[in-house]
């Protein structure tokens, strides 16, 4: 396979998978919200990476709508504007990505005076109607689970998911599946007596790994990031910020991640 084809394959399948996987656990993790609760969320993500031939800068603006259909069932739809620039060739790819639909279920939840524990698996799939060069053009379902442990003013959230890339084998090349796991620890501090406004510093660890299912494939790409950040919450509105730095990127990645900045706004009603 020529070098160009390898690079094109990476850009088409692996980069979006890495970029979307490393979105921060707080993006759609956690336990199911109240019935009838609607959440609107938007973010700006700036992703800086480098390849041997130059730098790759990606900007993403996802918009998410989540709805508490039942106390134990949450539906979520997400889409995003995608803009990627390759400095070496001065090529820009932009457009609307594939819509992503997710259903989360409450498997277990226990509320006590001192802590809350919740387990919520999810099933999700993209709808391959995104713009050429931005959407994957393939169906990529994923299965995952969120586990939350919240001892009063602290929280520890763990999320893991496995994504099957191109389940219908519609693509000429077999893209690798991928696995992602996130761990977040946070402390929420009430800023006034009523607790209407609060500040929650957070540190996350985000891990991504390719999983080749075919024969004779190269070493899988891996990425481990540490992500300090925080959330300012005022009543039903939350402002989020996350800065992601790579800790480990495998032995010889074709595309090296530099840093990522995520700024977001969430509104619930």
């Amino acid at each position: 396979m020529s070098r160009f084809k390898v690079f094109a394959l990476i850009c088409l399948f692996i980069l979006p998978a890495v970029e979307i996987a490393g979105q921060g656990i707080s993006f759609d993790a956690g336990i199911t919200p109240a019935e009838g609760r609607i959440m609107l969320r938007s973010q700006y993500r700036h992703i800086s990476a480098s390849a041997t031939s130059g730098s790759i800068t990606t900007r993403m603006v996802p918009i998410v709508v989540a709805y508490g259909l039942k106390p134990g069932v949450t539906l979520m739809a997400r889409n995003m504007y995608f803009h990627r620039h390759f400095s070496a060739s001065d090529v820009t790819v932009k457009g609307i990505n594939d819509p992503y639909l997710l259903a989360k279920f409450r498997l277990y939840r226990k509320n006590t005076r001192n802590w809350v524990v919740g387990v919520a698996p999810h099933v999700a799939v993209n709808v391959p109607i995104g713009a050429t060069g931005v959407g994957s053009s393939t169906w990529n379902p994923d299965l995952g689970v969120n586990v939350s442990f919240r001892p009063r003013f602290f929280s520890v959230d763990f999320s893991a998911r496995y994504r099957i890339q191109d389940i219908t084998a519609a693509s000429a090349v077999d893209p690798p599946d991928n696995f992602a796991a996130d761990l977040a620890a946070s402390h929420i501090i009430a800023l006034n007596a009523s607790g209407e406004s609060a500040l929650a510093p957070v540190v996350e660890f985000n891990y991504f790994r390719e999983v080749f299912t075919g024969d004779g494939q190269a070493a899988p790409d891996q990425l481990l990031m540490v992500s300090p950040g925080g959330t300012f919450i005022f009543s039903d509105i939350a402002f989020e910020m996350l800065f992601q730095l790579p800790l480990y990127q495998g032995s010889d990645p074709v595309v090296k991640q530099r840093y990522r900045l995520i700024a977001g706004l969430k509104y619930m009603f």
Binding site: N111, G195, S197
Partner: protein, 109 residues
Amino acid sequence: MKRSWRNILLAAVLMTPLALWAQKQDVKQAAERDTLTYTVYGMDCPGCEGGLEKQINKIPAVLSSEASWVDQRLWVVVKPDSVLKREDVAFRIKKANFTLAETPDEKKE
């Protein structure tokens, strides 16, 4: 004639804030009289409060409600001449994914 209209207008201007204040006090006292307090487990951020209040306000006997994630409390103002059943409150709290404390600690404040 002109003077009496002026006096009436002056009295109205002076009396209106007083009347509004008195009405507000009445409403406040009535609310205090008919406010029930519950202990609720599971709220862990300010955003949880709105979800719970939205559910509680669906109960026909409820005039308004306010939740506090810090205090783990829920205050419910009951409509005049209405009866608020504990099981209705528990049902709505469950719909919000929270838990009403076992102890029947609701009290009028």
